[in-house]
């Protein structure tokens, strides 16, 4: 009965029949109270978004898997210290659980959220070294600004490492082919197979997407759903050596748990995991589609047949282990259909195994047969595995390099790197959003708009990066598009902070700053670790001149992500306005240190230095700004202004003449030229320029200033006349 119930619970879990699973699992645990069943129960709870239940159920349990699940539940409830104590000691945990990389990653997240940045970076690096395909760890390192070059992390060393482990496992599988354990090992092989095929889908967030899909993408049912489950499993749990041994010891439970682990650990990365599933699904479906291979279709048909035959023979299984093993094996095959990897021969061999297993009667004999066939096919497979692995790692390398460049604001390089991707990979939501962000940072709003709109067409349910898109539209003053975007985003997901940021931008554009502030605060409530919402709140507070709250908002943003240079900029601007110039300089310098390629930041740093009377440094900074972005007129104007104060009037005039050609309707240029001519005592020219400046409708303050200046011009004329 225990086996039957456990089996049924697994099946329900895979089919997302959560209440069914929970109820039956509770009966199972009541009947057979063992820690293994407790882990299954915790998994059911975690799957149903009840981390608190899982927490209470697993509290105090000491088995490695229990501790891991407990840590996952704690993290979902933001109980960092308990999660951390559960995950230590690490070595013991890694030995028992096939997800050493995931444990390191979780520890990295905990340390980052409790402000221990250095140790967090170490943990992420370890995760990446254990499992070179752990994209999420690399991503976190980039965000923290501590990533090594992608060529190092996803380089030849990584390729060899991964290849060895896959091939090593496969060969050892063949060695123990003629025992019961072979079932387990074939599972392992299947899992590796899956992970290999899964590797094809490395598109950054894709892993997360697929894992997140587990949290109840109701559209995925049956075999497809199972596939997504194990996809997560494979990539995260690549501690090669323990795999086989562990499987032979505790075959069924850990594997099942592993699937759960990946889901939950990934879901930790956003508190709104259940809500984002819809967002992720579509993108991952598209990515999967883009990697589709014809052979996969035929395989899937055969695999489906295999599963059907398996299900029919389910009842007649005697041995509990074999049953569970077969389930996993079968689900493994189903996984491979969706994964549609490149390892055709591998999967064929695998399929042969699974179909043999599904006929329960002569498992052993068929097994032997298939083992032999596999032995033969294995040798030809290994070269395909190798090429497949290197392809995957190359893809990861390109993506990693691009992402790292963008995180360090080397936008042009990032764009060049992303261009190297195949058009299949390029035309996906994630990559196009990255491209859009790069253009945004380069102040090239037209191209950013284009890239983002393309991203929306391809995967309209991907909300990540759409907050930046709304800012682009805001800055381009595209009122209609901004409103439309905000409406769409809200209708897709009311609980996404990006949607509320877009709405806030809408209101801010309409000058309704209080409502804009409320919208940004709502985004903050939905996810307090989303730094851009804090930054935008800060900007709004500055506009309504509530500097106290603005400073708080910016500081919250920096608390979440110290590399969010816009918050440093915001703080610098506030201090500049309040005439606290040294503070302003410090903050602008921090912003400059994080993003040394932004001409706007350089411009403000130069302005601050000028205010501190450090004119030479100010001029140098302005020169740099002009060189960085030739299209930015402000540094040139500011340089002309500084030259005027230094008395170098002719040079200033040259610059202003150039600017006048490019921007003939900018009143401040003419006003400054008027000032210069006045100092040169060319009063008629000065009058002319002041007149033009006034015609171009400057602000009231400037009108008064210019008219005062004109008045002073007239007086010297009169005096001369009188004389």
């Amino acid at each position: 009965m225990e086996a039957l119930l456990a089996n049924y619970v697994e099946k329900s879990l895979k089919q997302y029949m959560r209440r069914n699973a929970i109820f039956l699992c509770e009966r199972l645990y009541a009947e057979f109270p063992s820690e293994v069943n407790l882990q299954l129960l915790a998994r059911c709870y975690l799957n149903n978004n009840q981390p608190h239940s899982a927490y209470h159920v697993l509290k105090g349990m000491q088995m490695a898997q229990s501790r891991y699940l407990f840590a996952v539940a704690c993290l979902e409830m933001d109980l960092f210290s308990e999660a951390e104590t559960a995950l230590l000691p690490i070595e013991e945990l890694c030995a028992h659980v096939t997800n050493g990389a995931a444990v390191q990653y979780l520890l990295g997240i905990i340390h980052r959220d409790t402000n221990r940045m250095k140790s967090s970076v170490e943990h992420f690096r370890k995760a990446l070294s254990i499992d070179p395909l752990f994209w999420a760890a690399y991503e976190e390192l980039c965000i923290l600004g501590e990533a090594e070059e992608a060529a190092v992390c996803f380089g030849d060393v990584a390729i060899h490492y991964v290849q060895e482990h896959y091939l090593g496992n496969a060969s050892s599988y063949l060695q123990i082919a003629n025992s019961d354990q072979s079932l387990d090992s074939s599972q392992a092989f299947g899992l590796e197979d899956l992970s290999l095929s899964h590797l094809q889908q490395m598109e950054g967030n894709n892993i997360r997407n697929i894992c997140l899909n587990n949290h109840g993408g109701p559209n995925l049912t049956g075999p497809v759903g199972q596939i997504t489950n194990s996809c997560c499993n494979s990539s995260f749990f690549r501690t090669p050596s323990p795999v086989l041994t562990q499987l032979s010891d505790m075959a069924p439970p850990p594997l099942i748990r592993n699937i759960r682990f990946c889901q939950n650990e990934v879901s930790l990365r956003s508190s709104t995991q259940a809500r984002r599933e819809f967002v992720r699904e579509n993108e991952s479906a598209q990515i999967r589609g883009s990697l589709f291979f014809d052979s996969g279709r035929r395989r899937s048909a055969r695999l489906a047949a295999a599963q059907r035959s398996f299900n029919s023979t389910q009842g007649s299984e005697n041995k509990a282990n074999n049953l569970r093993a077969s389930i996993k094996l079968n689900s493994g095959t189903c996984y491979s259909t969706v994964c549609k990897g490149q390892f055709q021969n591998l999967e064929e061999a695998f399929r042969a195994t699974s179909s043999s297993l599904s006929s329960s009667a002569d498992v052993k004999s068929v097994q032997d047969e298939t083992v032999n066939t596999q032995l033969r096919s294995f040798i030809s497979n290994s070269s395909k595995i190798k090429s497949g692995i290197s392809d995957t790692i190359n893809l990861l390398r390109i993506l990693g390099e691009g992402y790292r460049h963008l995180c360090e604001y080397r936008c042009q390089e990032a764009l060049n790197v992303y261009q190297k991707l195949s058009s299949k990979q390029y035309n996906t939501g994630w990559v196009l959003s990255q491209v859009g962000k790069a253009y945004f940072e380069l102040v090239d709003y037209l191209n950013a708009d284009y890239a983002f709109s393309l991203a929306r067409q391809i995967s309209p349910y991907n909300l990540e990066g759409m907050d930046v898109y709304s800012t682009v539209l805001y800055l381009m003053k595209e009122d209609m598009k901004l409103k439309y975007l905000a409406q769409e985003l809200i209708s897709i997901d009311r609980f996404a902070p990006q949607a509320w940021c877009a709405i806030g931008n809408c209101y801010s554009f309409q000058k309704d700053h209080e409502t804009a502030l409320k919208s940004f605060q709502r985004a903050v409530q939905l996810n307090s670790r989303f730094p851009y919402a804090h930054t935008l709140s800060g900007h709004e507070n500055v506009i309504i001149e509530d500097y106290g709250n603005a400073v708080e908002c910016y500081q919250k943003a920096l608390h979440v992500d110290a590399r969010h240079y816009k918050s440093w900029y915001g703080l610098g601007m506030i201090y500049l306005r309040q005439e606290k110039i040294e503070f302003a300089e410090h903050h602008f310098r921090q912003a400059y240190r994080i993003n040394p390629f932004s001409s706007v930041i350089m411009y403000y740093l130069g302005t601050t230095l000028e205010a501190l009377k450090r004119s030479e440094e100010a001029l140098v900074m302005m020169e740099k700004a002009i060189v960085t972005d030739n299209k930015n007129p402000l540094p040139k104007y500011s340089k002309a202004n500084m030259l005027v104060t230094l008395g170098r009037l002719n040079e200033a005039l040259e610059i202003l003449e150039e600017l006048k050609e490019c921007y003939p309707r900018e009143s401040s240029i003419y006003a400054l030229m008027g000032e210069i001519y006045k100092q040169h005592k060319k009063y008629d020219k000065s009058m002319l320029h002041f007149g033009i400046a006034l015609d171009l409708k400057p602000s009231i303050v400037d009108v008064a200033k210019i008219q005062a200046a004109i008045g002073k011009l007239i007086l010297p004329d009169e005096i001369e006349d009188n004389l």
Binding site: Y474, S598, Y603, S668, A671, S699, Q707, A708
Partner: protein, 192 residues
């Protein structure tokens, strides 16, 4: 400096008044940074009713004329427009009739810069502080005093429902001599 001088005293009659408060975009309300006080008030109708954005509540004076509203800033500010909400239909003999606006550094050196006479006002009344000279668009001062010299129908005390004081927006980009007007300049001037 405050551009007060005896020549800029002028009499003007204002009638009517707007129901809605409409102010140019480049002006902003400066009253939040000021300390507001009144010469006298009836309990329950104090100075806070002048600043509560509620047109139902009003300040009622309780003493001898002239009734004074004092607005004091911590540093010199440029002011351009004073807006009052007064309504003859609601307040009748309590409605102010003659108003004098004075500016200076403090109570000791206030000088009158504007006098107006209101005739049956019914809403927001705009009192511009600008002089005739275009160079005198603003009054640059520490303190503003609004004095109610007389009321309609010779009433003793006065009701004023709301007062707002407007000045120009400062340059959004600090430490620049002139503000930018063209789109390209403004695009590059902020990071969002």
């Amino acid at each position: 400096m405050a551009t007060e001088s005896s020549e800029s005293e002028e009499e003007g009659k204002i009638t009517g008044g707007n129901q809605h408060l409409i102010v140019e975009d480049d002006l902003r309300e400066m009253g939040k940074k000021a300390a507001w006080s009144v010469s006298s008030c009836k309990t329950g109708n104090g100075v806070s009713s002048l600043r509560d954005d509620n047109l139902e509540t009003y300040w009622q004076s309780d003493g001898a004329q002239p009734h004074l509203v004092n607005i004091q800033f911590q540093k010199k500010v440029k002011l351009q427009v004073v807006v009052l909400y007064v309504d003859f239909k609601l307040d009748e003999s309590y409605t102010p009739s003659k108003i004098s606006i004075r500016a200076g550094d403090g109570f000791h050196n206030l000088k009158e810069i504007k006098t107006v006479e209101l005739v049956k006002p019914t809403g927001w009344v705009y009192l511009s502080l600008s002089g005739n000279d275009p160079r005198e668009t603003f009054v640059n001062t520490f303190m503003l005093q609004i004095a109610v010299l007389s009321n309609h129908l010779n009433g003793r005390d006065t009701h004023v429902r709301q007062i707002k004081v407007y000045g120009p927006r400062p340059n959004p980009i600090p430490h620049q001599p002139f503000q930018f007007t063209s789109r390209e300049f403004i695009t590059y001037s902020t990071v969002r």
